[in-house]
Amino acid sequence: MIPACRLADLPRGEAFRLDSDPPVSVFHTDAGEVFAIDDTCTHQDASLADGWLEDCWVECPLHASKFDLRTGAVDAPPAKRPVRTHEVVIEDGMIYVQLSTAAPNLPACVAARLAGAGG
């Protein structure tokens, strides 16, 4: 499990981006729930932590596809694939993320860059 940040440091309606590889974002919804998903939109290289959070959905800051924080499902193109979701554990006021073992759905441009960086 990766420690993300303290719950007290993440106000409702805000997101925190972890510099993992690929990056993961933790969202604190207005209703007080906490979710973690891959930070990169599945369409192009946009950070969902920069997106517009409403209820259990985050809207991509660029082209407005919306992702369901609970399931990762996308509402409508241009993004066509879901984002990966991760399990969140809160212990003693600290938010931890249990990274999913599923393969991420990164956009082609980002996947190529990560593959290049890895050798």
Binding site: S47, P61, L62, K80
Partner: protein, 391 residues
């Protein structure tokens, strides 16, 4: 649904989502299933993505609609009500969503001249992409977003590019003078020549193709001040006009597109309009506005469909201030709000010289618009704070 692009598709989705269970007919004069236009001047023109990636429908999406593609609507009969098609068919309907969008304006006098292009449709983009593949000099007429994006894409492909703009500063309409100047400075940064404040007289049609002399092919762009800019390919990026000619005489009030209320209703009951063809009433401005942005074509149909299904009784939430993006020379440009209403512009982050900037437009101290160049994070923060305003 008349018009089978982003606004028509979004309206079809909204109808199903809002519980409409009846027959749904989508009429579109292009033969293609709905596709995304923004990449046509960017990734698609650059050759980075193919046609399959332009699809606006998800692979498993089924709206249970009858798609009449390659079918042009020629008239709306409000009495029956029905939509007449060019091939003589007539489609009866209880409700009509007008989503016929806009068509690229052409340059008068260049009709039929090879090498002169506009860019609105997939077919336009295929032609332009094929022609740019053979290299040469490109002249872009019009320094607006589509012109600037094509210039950016073509220069990255190795073309010698000149942009000609009639106004003293490109993009001053949507972005204001100051920031229009900052964004259009990207051209010079990348070796693209920008000529401003000069009109175009015409296109010389005595150019030659690589296979030898050909009459009727663009050879140069002729400027008002007498200059001639040699060109192998010309792109006219001189705006778009709403496709509403088919509604003449139908009783649907027209004025710079389909004139409609803040909820999308037109002057005819049971008929709403969405997307680039719709001139929506903005209650705060007390005026009508026709917004040609992707997000408006995607979001407003929710409202218009609620109006249609409720017979006008629904009072949905007002939409967010308009938003659009543009990608030029690797810089991500984002804009939300209305620049025209602002009395000041301040730089809140970054610096114009670095082409990395967040500018906030204010009116009487309240933020009314925000522009970001490579500032996605701060952009969203400011976008959320925009005050809806009369502009």
């Amino acid at each position: 649904m008349v018009g089978a692009s982003l606004a028509g598709l979004s309206a079809a989705r909204a109808l199903r989502r809002q519980g409409y269970d009846g027959r749904l007919v989508v009429i579109g004069d292009e033969r293609h299933r709905p596709y995304d236009r923004p990449p046509l001047s960017k990734e698609f023109l650059a050759g980075d993505i193919g046609e399959a990636e332009l699809a606006l429908e998800a692979d498993d999406e089924d709206l249970r609609a009858d798609w009449l593609l390659g079918a042009r609507a020629t008239a709306l009969d409000r009495t029956r009500p029905s939509v007449r098609l060019a091939d003589g068919r007539e489609v009866r309907a209880d409700g009509v969503v007008i989503a016929t969008g806009a068509a690229a304006r052409t340059l008068p006098g260049t009709e039929g001249l090879a090498g002169v292009h506009v860019l609105r449709t997939l077919d336009d983009a295929r032609r332009l992409r094929a022609e740019l593949a053979s290299g040469g000099r490109l002249v872009v007429i019009g320094g607006g977003f589509i012109g600037a994006e094509v210039a950016s894409t073509a220069s990255a492909l190795g073309h010698e590019v000149t942009v000609v703009e009639a106004a003293p500063t490109p993009l001053s309409g949507p972005l204001g003078e100051t920031m229009g100047g900052v964004v259009s400075a990207l051209h010079a940064d990348h070796g693209v020549r920008l000529l401003c404040g000069v009109g175009v007289r015409g296109v010389d049609g005595t150019g030659r193709s690589s296979t030898g002399g050909v009459r009727g092919r663009a050879g140069a762009v002729l400027l008002d001040d007498g200059r001639e800019i040699p060109a192998d390919v010309v792109l006219a990026g001189v705006g778009a006009r709403p496709c509403v000619g088919w509604l003449e005489g139908s009783g649907v009030a027209l004025d710079n597109g389909v004139k409609c209320g803040a909820d999308g209703r037109t002057s005819v009951p049971g008929v709403v309009a969405v997307g680039d063809c719709a001139n929506w009433h903005d209650p705060l401005a007390g005026a009508h506005r026709r917004v040609e942005h992707w997000t408006g074509a995607r979001e407003r149909p929710d409202l218009a469909v609620a109006t249609l299904l409720s017979g006008g009784a629904a009072h949905p939430r007002p939409p967010r201030p308009p938003y659009f993006w543009s990608d030029q020379y690797g810089v991500r440009i984002q804009f939300a709000g209305h620049a025209s209403g602002a009395d000041s512009v301040t730089i809140e982050e970054g610096a114009p010289d670095d082409r990395n900037v967040l500018a906030v437009y204010r009116r009487a101290g309240h933020p009314v618009a925000v522009l970001g160049m490579n500032q996605p994070r701060m952009f969203t923060r400011w976008r959320k704070q925009l005050t809806p305003t009369a502009a």
